[in-house]
Each structure stands twice: as C-alpha cells, then as structure tokens.
C-alpha cells in the first residue's frame, strides 16, 4: 500500500507548483495517515503516532519518492516534532483581524469597538472580560487604548482543526519631546486660522 500511495504522491507533487517544502510536508501528512500506529509516552502523556519503522523510507534512505530532490530521511525529523509536541499545529492561518478601541472600562470587563481589517466590512462592538488581557497589557487598558484581535484557524497533523483567538494591546514607541513640540507648533498655526475673524 505505501508503494502505491507514494507513487500517487510522486505524481501529484510533480504536477504541483507549490513550494517543494510544503509539498513534502503535505505528502508526508497523507502518508502518515496510512501507516500503522504505535503508542509513545511523551512529556504530554501517551500519544499515538505512526510507526515509522514500517515506512519504506526507513529501509531505504536514498529514496527520492516524490522526485523533488528531498530524501525520505528528512521526514522523520518532522515526525519527531509531532511525536514530542503533539499540540503544535502544522499550519496557522489568520481568518479574521480587527483593530479595537476601548470604549468603556467596567469592573471586570471592557467594551471595545472593532474595526475590521477589510475595508468593506462593518464595525462591531463586543465585550471582553479583563481575564483575557495579559498581565503585561493590563496597565494599558483604559478608554481610548488600541488593541488587536486576531482569530486564526489551526490545522494539526492528525487533520484536527481548532480556532484560536488573541487579544493584544498596542505598544508603540513613546511620545518624545520633539514630537510633542511638533504637534504644538502645528496646532498653533490652526489656532491662528480659527481666531481670524
């Protein structure tokens, strides 16, 4: 079965214009699904992983099954990542992104106005509990503070998908004396205009 599968992968990979590394990874993931499973004790507890000793790559390290100049021996390195860190996603894709402004801060929550990254989308209002704000960011939480909200989709080696979200307050370089002076100077010119009668 692996022989058939790899030949199929080989043919797919040749037709693909994707980056060789990603092709290898995709081919590897598909191949893993068809391998026998074995259990391993890891720092995350017992994890079931493919038994790579039974893969053709283990027996012939010079094979180039997908014809992309990558040898099968590279693949176990990926498997080791999977084996030792099963919680680590293979791919994370941001699917929604907003810039937020804190409108109102209450005891244990705050109300934020969310402007979507897509120009065509509408603004939203949402409530966030302060538990979602990291300790580092808490001092920044006040009306008018800017924050970023990202929602991402993660794909794991076993095909599982998860949606994750993050909330981070904006940190910029701090106002300098020079910048404040520039602002004051520009304001003085506008004030002069407004005072004209």
């Amino acid at each position: 079965m692996p022989e058939d599968l790899l030949s199929e992968l080989n043919s797919d990979a040749k037709q693909s214009s994707a980056h060789p590394a990603s092709v290898v990874r995709e081919a590897y993931l598909s191949a893993l699904k068809h391998l026998p499973r074995q259990s391993a004790q890891t720092e995350f507890g017992p994890v079931e992983t493919p038994d790579l000793s039974q893969s053709p790559g283990r027996t012939n390290q010079t094979d180039d099954p997908i014809g992309m100049g990558h040898v099968w021996t590279q693949l176990p390195r990926l498997s080791e990542v999977t084996r030792s860190d099963p919680g680590r996603p293979l791919r994370t894709r941001v699917i929604r992104r907003w810039t937020g402004v804190v409108e109102e801060v209450l005891d244990d929550l705050f109300v934020g106005r969310l402007t979507p990254s897509k120009k065509s989308a509408e603004e939203l209002v949402a409530e966030f509990t302060t538990d979602e704000v990291s300790d580092d960011d808490l001092p920044l939480l006040r009306p008018g503070a800017w924050f970023y909200v990202n929602v991402a989709k993660q794909t794991f080696a076993d095909g599982r998908q998860a949606t994750i979200s993050s909330l981070r307050f904006r940190r910029l370089s701090r106002w300098t004396e020079e910048e404040l002076a520039i602002a004051e100077e520009r304001a003085a010119k506008v004030a002069e205009l407004l005072r004209e009668e």
Partner: protein, 369 residues
C-alpha cells in the same frame, strides 16, 4: 411613511435620524434655509445620513444649508460630518467653543501623528482642511464656536416670512474653562504610549441649541449631561443669564434618554406640557440606552415620544453571528455598531395654534405605545 417630500416654503420641519449608534438632526428653518446638527451613517452606507436625506427631499445642499453643527467630538455624532460640510459650501461650521483651543488642536495633531486607524478625530481634521481652503477664498473662516449665549444664525422676519434664530445654550463658560484645562493633559504625554487621544468627556462641553422660528421653539439636547457641578451641563443652562424666555414644543431628549442627562427642571421650566419628545438609542455601551426605566420616566412626562429604532439590540444578522462564533472564546455580546437609519420627521407652521405632525420612517417607532 417611506416617501420623501419637501416641506412647504414656510413650514418648519425637524427630522431626527438614528441608526442605533449615532444621530443627526436636520431642520428646515423656513424660507428654504436648512441646518444640520451632527452626522451619522447607517449600516452599509458610506454617505452621511443627513446628506442623503437632504438630497432625497431636493435641497440644494451647497446653497441652502446655512449651518452644520458638531455638538461634540464623540464618534456617534460626527460620522460623515466632514463630507457633509464639504458639500455645504454656504454653511458656517459650528462646534463647541472649547474645540478652538490650542490644546484641543494639539491633541488633534497628536491623533494624526499616532498614525493609527481608526483615528479618533479624523472628521475634525478634515473639517479644518475645508475651513482652511474656504478661508482663502472668503477672506474669513466660516466657523462659530458655540457656547451659552452665542448667536449662531439669525434671519429677520419680513411680511409673510417668519424670522428664525439659532442660539447656543451650552456649553457654559465654566464648562469651556473646565474642558480647556483637561485638554492641557497632552503635556503629560511625554514618554507615554500613544493611545487614542483623550479629550475629557466631550458630553460635558457639548453644544445645546435653542431654535426659534416664528412662534415655535425647539430644544436640541444632543448629549449634554446634568453636570458636572452646578455651573456645567443642564445645571449651567438653567442658571445661565442667556436662557431664553418661552417654552419649547419640541425636545430632542439628550444622551439617548440616560438618567445622567435628565433634569426635571428642564422639563418643568423649558418645555411645553406634553412636549413632542424624540430620541435615538445607543447600542454601543455595555448597557444599551434607553433602558426600560428611562422609557417609563420619559413617557410619564409626555405622551408624545418617538424613537428612531428599538432601544434593545436587534437580532444580529448571520454575518455578525459568524464573527461572534469566531470570537466566542474571548468576547461576548458581539454586535453591529450601527443599524439601519430610522427617521422621525415633524412639521408644523411657524405661527398659530398647531400640533406637530409626525411621520415615522421604519425602524422609527412610537416610544410610549
């Protein structure tokens, strides 16, 4: 009512527009003179709602609009006001007098320099650009700083034509001073992280207008709060030596009916009995306004109250529910910031005993039914 029609030449018309967050008041002062107080946008629209309305009723916006008023710098009152003013070529721009102060203008510059979208005062900055270019053509800057006692518009009465006057009732002198003092905080920003520019609470130095056309008085309350203190907010209006004689038959209820803007003395001393009261809701905060208790209070004071849309949050469309689902791990109560524009239009002649004739455009509704 869904159709639009132009009011008669001498008829007063006042329309309150509101999309759930934001409001605007459009007034026909008679004789083809119009004014706009604040601006908002409806869901899915990039155009200022009052501008859309004026065009629908066939107003020559460039010539007939005499005043564009920004009562205060809250985003729900100034969305689209720069585009509106840009089109109203013959209009004076009115804003609370504190906004002319050098410290406020410095905060505006810092807002621009922070290079962050959305900018808090982008609309104001654009208005200043328009004022600058118009001042070069006109040889004067077409703007007025509003405060108690400031005369913003005056048209003398002539045979067959009622006179019209727009007077500023707020901010009080004390509120202006207090605001300017607060704006000075920019000097403490040295070494601080740029956030959205803070200009105190703009509701406390918000402009309030008393409009008189013929024998009819209209009180536009915007977002003015009762205080702070005895000399600011509605407390300041009631104490002001500029407070006009007479009572208003139309009241735009301030601050979306919230109790912190309710002053019973205003209802007793400045408004006619069973005044026509109109208001917009506010869906933006943690607690939408007006609350049922606000409704009870207002409807106990008048039987004729109307609101531009339902005070409670409407069912959100699928698009928002999808976003809410994505955000469920960190956020609750996810909703659109704006809804569709509801409109309350009231008309009456400027003289004689007459009732306001009210027309509602959905989702506007009778508030006390």
């Amino acid at each position: 009512v869904t159709s639009y029609s132009t009011p008669k030449a001498e008829e007063i018309e006042i329309s309150l527009l509101g999309p759930g967050i934001g409001e605007s008041v459009v007034v026909h002062l008679g004789s083809g003179d119009w004014m706009v107080v604040d601006s908002c946008r409806g869901r899915g629209s990039a155009t200022s709602a009052p501008l859309e309305y004026l065009e629908e009723v066939g107003v020559d916006v460039g010539r007939q609009v005499k005043l564009v008023v920004a009562t205060h710098a809250h985003s729900d009152h100034i969305k689209g006001i720069a585009d509106l003013f840009d089109r109203c070529e013959a209009a004076q721009f009115v804003f609370p007098r504190a906004s002319e102060s050098r410290d406020f203008l410095t905060l505006l510059q810092l807002d621009e320099m922070a290079e962050q979208e959305p900018r808090a005062y982008d609309e104001f900055a654009k208005v200043l650009d328009t004022l600058t270019s118009r001042s070069k053509v006109l040889g004067r800057t077409p703007k007025i700083g509003a405060q108690e006692g400031s005369l913003l518009f005056r048209r003398a009465a002539t045979p067959g034509r009622a006179g019209a006057e727009v007077l500023g009732l707020a901010p009080s002198e004390a509120a202006v001073e207090r605001a300017i003092q607060e704006f000075g905080h920019w000097r403490d920003l040295l070494g601080q992280n740029p956030g959205r520019v803070r200009t105190g609470d703009p509701n406390t130095y918000c402009a309030v207008l008393w409009i008189t056309v013929g024998e009819v008085n209209i009180l536009v309350g915007a977002d003015l709060l009762t205080g702070p203190g005895s000399d600011c907010g509605w407390n300041g209006v009631l104490l002001s030596p500029f407070r006009p004689e007479g009572k208003a038959s139309y009241f735009q209820v301030p601050h979306h009916g919230a109790p912190n803007a309710h002053h019973s003395q205003v209802w007793e001393e400045m408004l006619e009995q069973d005044v026509l009261a109109t208001l917009t809701p506010y869906w933006g905060g943690q607690r939408p306004r007006p609350q049922p208790s606000d409704q009870q209070r207002i409807c106990a004071l008048t039987s004729r109250a109307f609101i531009t849309c339902k005070p409670d949050l409407p069912t959100q469309p699928n698009l928002v529910r999808t976003d809410a689902a994505h955000l469920r791990a960190i956020a609750t109560n996810v909703r659109f910031r704006t809804g569709f524009i509801g409109r309350i239009t009231a008309r009456r002649p400027p003289v004689g005993i007459a009732e306001w004739e009210v027309a509602l455009v959905a989702p506007a509704r009778d508030f006390c039914a």
